[in-house]
């Protein structure tokens, strides 16, 4: 996708262009408003939140809410903040990303270069899986994992993320490998490379760009997941999104909006960080991975 607009940049500001800028800036303000509210609310104390306008900057900066959200906020009877959720999310995300990307790369490679009869039928079946609502699969899958003895555990949730990440990742790896020159593969075959050798010595070294896209896609997707973590991770491994929801939605006690907003920001830090540093890669991931979710 070419990101550079064609033609020269207009030199003079006309009325129309001023209007255009006003409009686009208004749109930008609308998109930024929730982020702005989130940040300033987290820096106010509760008295100010109750008394003042939600859009006003804090009169006095209060950092009380941040450490509380991180390590003391309560979910039910447990008051450990988001910290355990953060580490659980890391424990879930890192192995899930590695396993699902590695397996999907292998799938894509086999589909692109070692096609056998029926392979594309199963690939089609797998792609079909990308569109099935999770709700249809959640309960039977829970039964399968229960049978395997991994329900409600770290391996259980990793397997689930690997399964649901597989269709789209396999698709983008297959498409990438199919676009590589086939002569390269033929040459490697003539030189005596077999399935495994060609994968490790020829294909993997060329896979960096598509792997970056796949990793970005998976990291944001798995970090942001709520439903699967809620059902499959088990009480001890609940990811950050689930704990965030538990902290904010407590039914009793005084709602502390500043703590809620700090917790919300903390939960979105990882995907936002990935988004801001990866920029154009993220956009490529969207184009390729549009069907996930």
């Amino acid at each position: 996708m070419s990101a550079i607009p064609k033609g020269p940049r207009p030199k003079h500001l006309t009325v129309g262009r001023i209007g255009l800028y006003c409009f686009i800036i208004m749109c930008a303000l609308f998109f930024l408003m929730p982020l702005y509210v989130m940040i300033i609310t987290s820096l106010k104390d509760m008295d100010e939140i109750r008394a003042a306008n939600i859009l006003n900057l804090p009169k006095e900066l209060s950092f009380y809410a941040w450490p509380k959200a991180w390590s003391q906020a309560c979910t039910g009877f447990v008051c450990e903040g988001l910290k355990p959720g953060f580490f659980n999310s890391i424990k879930i995300t890192v192995p899930s990303v590695i396993v699902s990307v590695a397996l999907s790369a292998l799938n894509g490679y086999a589909l692109a270069f070692w096609r056998f009869k029926g392979a594309y039928f199963f690939f089609g079946l797998c792609m079909f899986g990308a569109f099935i609502p999770y709700q249809v699969m959640v309960y039977p899958l829970l039964k399968i994992e229960d049978f395997l003895g991994i329900y409600s555990s770290l391996p259980g949730i990793i397997l689930v993320h690997t399964i649901f990440g597989m269709p789209i990742l396999t698709l983008i790896f297959r498409n990438f490998y199919a676009s590589l020159p086939i002569d390269l593969f033929k040459a490697a075959r003539i030189d005596g490379g077999n399935f495994i050798k060609i994968f490790f010595y020829v294909i993997i070294p060329m896979s960096t760009p598509i792997t970056i896209v796949a990793v970005i896609l998976q990291v944001t997707g798995i970090w942001n997941d709520f439903l699967l973590g809620l059902v499959f991770a088990g009480r001890d491994n609940q990811p950050m999104t689930v704990q965030l929801n538990n902290i904010v939605q407590v039914d009793y006690g005084v709602a502390e909006y500043n703590v809620d907003m700090s917790a919300t920001i903390l939960t979105s830090l990882v995907p936002l960080f990935v988004y801001f540093i990866s920029g154009r890669w993220f956009v490529r991931g969207i184009a390729a991975g549009a069907i996930k979710g």
Binding site: T41, N107, P133
Partner: protein, 293 residues
């Protein structure tokens, strides 16, 4: 062809084949079979025909859920398309700070549904939120009680969802706009066609594949909306913003009414198939047919 030929590829694809068959196909069959039983707390093979479906369609709550998903689906899809297209056109005007604006419009897409829901819950808070701001600025007539209003709560969900998803449509559309040949713009300007007219009557029809893809992807996501609503309204007030996905999850995990949940999930599945089938037919069958001729 002997079975052991190309055996490495077959072994490599074995996980994908097993997952496709057991999870994607197996779970649907399992759900369908048990939707024909009167399972409550545990799945039991007690055949009752289509009773569960019959009961489902008589539930007031299910009616509300279906109505909500239609409202949400329509407003969210149309909202995302219009705003996404508009933003793409604005950004395409060779403006300064293009990448900054693009970053601003897309960042919500990196956030999780839970975060989006919680932020908007705070912004739309009837006591401290935007309504209060407007009152403080002297606009006492301003009303924004959507979250506590039975009829309007679902539109609050739509706003939050459009805020999150519009950037995604923008990216797809912008990719399309940048792919439009410069000569078309030249001839349009020679003909003296107004720019907004060119966008709507000439360029938009040329972007049809992008629009169709965007609609299908958004619509397939609509059916599964769950965490956003859970975070924003918890399905309330009452059950005014409940959706089929919530109905399923509730019957699985808190009401111990498995038969109902299976029946509802099968209906969800069928509706996704109805959305996807025409598109998939066009995309994978007709296109290949014409491409091969």
């Amino acid at each position: 062809m002997p079975f052991y030929r190309n055996i490495a590829a077959k072994i490599a694809l074995l996980p994908m084949i097993v997952i496709s068959l057991t999870v994607f196909v197996g779970c649907i069959i399992y759900s369908f079979v048990y939707s024909l039983t009167n399972s409550k707390l545990v799945p039991v093979m007690n055949y009752v025909g289509f009773d569960q479906y019959d009961r489902l369609f008589k539930q007031r709550k299910w009616d509300v859920a279906v109505e909500n998903i239609f409202i949400y689906g329509f407003v969210f899809t149309v909202g995302c398309l219009i705003i996404g297209f508009l933003l793409a056109v604005l950004i395409d005007q060779k403006i300064r700070g293009e990448s900054l604006f693009r970053t601003i419009f897309l960042y919500p897409y990196a956030m999780s549904f839970v975060v989006t829901g919680l932020v908007w819950k705070w912004v739309l808070n009837p006591t401290f939120g935007l309504e209060n701001s407007m009152h403080m600025w002297g606009m006492t007539w301003f009303e924004l009680d959507w979250l506590v209003n039975r009829d309007l709560a679902i539109y609050a969900v739509c706003i939050a969802a459009v805020w999150q998803g519009a950037g995604f449509v923008m990216v797809l559309m912008l990719a399309g706009l940048r792919g439009i040949d410069e000569d078309i713009w030249k001839s349009l300007s020679i003909e003296g066609v107004a720019k907004w007219k060119s966008y709507i009557f000439v360029i938009l029809p040329m972007l049809r594949p992008m629009v169709v893809t965007a609609i299908v992807l958004i619509a397939a996501g609509v059916v599964k909306v769950y965490d956003l609503i859970l975070a924003l309204t918890s399905g309330g007030p009452g059950y005014a913003t409940t959706t089929p996905a919530m109905y399923v999850m509730e019957n699985f995990f808190s009401r111990a009414n498995l038969g109902q949940a299976f029946a509802a999930s099968i209906i969800m599945f069928i509706s996704v198939v109805c959305i996807l089938a025409p598109w998939a037919f066009y995309e994978f069958y007709l296109r290949n047919k014409y491409a091969n001729n």
